[in-house]
């Protein structure tokens, strides 16, 4: 039978993969994608906690996940818009290149 630990370990694994990507990759888009992976891992963890919680009728985990998805969507929209703008300025989206705050 699947226990809560299975889900949490899977979620942490996914989180770690996302973290690895966010730390390692140079391409800003991939960094954003990695952050989305981390978001999703967190959502998975939350929903799993809800499923295994003693008070599922409060729907806290589900609510958190829904709000998390919403915020992730907003974040993705703004982040990718920023990437496009940065590309227009630098003609590159290497995160290593973006070191100063001056445009």
């Amino acid at each position: 039978m699947t226990t809560l630990a299975h889900f949490q370990i899977l979620a942490s694994l996914l989180f770690v993969i996302g973290l690895f990507g966010a730390v390692t990759r140079r391409n800003a888009i991939v960094v954003l994608l990695s952050i989305e992976i981390m978001f999703n891992a967190a959502n998975l963890s939350l929903v799993a906690f809800w499923r295994y919680s003693p008070h599922p009728e409060q729907l806290s985990g589900v609510m958190f996940a829904i709000f998390g998805i919403t915020i992730a969507a907003a974040e993705a929209a703004v982040g990718l818009a920023l990437v496009i703008v940065i590309y227009r300025y630098y003609k590159s989206i290497e995160v290593d290149g973006m070191r100063s705050l001056k445009g």
């Binding site: 039978m1 699947t2 226990t3 809560l4 630990a5 299975h6 889900f7 370990i9 942490s12 694994l13 996914l14 989180f15 770690v16 993969i17 996302g18 973290l19 690895f20 990507g21 730390v23 390692t24 990759r25 888009i29 991939v30 954003l32 994608l33 989305e36 992976i37 999703n40 959502n43 998975l44 929903v47 799993a48 809800w50 499923r51 295994y52 003693p54 009728e57 409060q58 729907l59 985990g61 589900v62 609510m63 996940a65 829904i66 709000f67 998805i69 919403t70 915020i71 907003a74 993705a76 929209a77 703004v78 990718l80 990437v83 496009i84 703008v85 590309y87 227009r88 989206i93 290497e94």
Partner: protein, 167 residues
């Protein structure tokens, strides 16, 4: 552990790993879509149907498309000068990921509540979610609505090219 869990885990982990490691950005995004579907599958598996559908609608239908558009608009189909597999950068990343993973592993393992099995009859009902959202969670709901509006306007304003520059 049952079969569905194993299959979904394989899908999600594979999708995530590919998304993070593939050089070809479009392939990375498509792997990410696979990952999103896997997560949605987990949501169904956990009886959170609504979240699952929202996951597909938002991530597959919007975020992935947005990412593809970003890739297209930045003329950046492949990340050519990514460092190699055994570069210092990758090793550092792996070390950091391993450290954080170890901490999480340690935390999960040291918690007795983690070994419980799923209680029966837990399911999320859309009507309940809606009711909760309009009662207990109405403030976060409004805040998120505002945030979303602000993000939408912000994204448009940021990405809109200055017309005056062009003319």
């Amino acid at each position: 552990m049952d079969t569905a869990f194993i299959i979904l885990s394989l899908i999600t982990v594979a999708g995530a790993v590919w998304a993070v490691t593939l050089r070809n950005l479009i392939h990375a995004v498509l792997s990410l879509v696979l990952f999103f579907f896997g997560i949605a599958g987990f949501f169904f598996y956990l009886n959170a149907d609504f979240v699952g559908w929202v996951q597909i609608l938002v991530y597959v239908g919007a975020v992935a498309i947005l990412a593809i558009f970003a890739v297209m608009l930045t003329h950046n189909l492949t990340a050519e000068d990514e460092p190699g597999f055994f570069s210092l950068r990758w090793l550092t990343g792996m070390a950091i990921a391993a450290t954080v993973g170890a901490v999480l592993w340690f935390a999960i393992r040291s918690n007795a509540a983690m070994s419980q099995t799923a209680p029966a009859g837990v399911a999320s009902n859309v009507a309940d979610i809606g009711r909760k959202m309009m009662t207990d969670w109405v403030v976060p709901f409004e805040v998120v609505s505002l945030l979303l509006t602000a993000a939408m306007i912000g994204a448009i304003v940021i990405a809109m090219e200055q017309i005056s520059h062009r003319k």
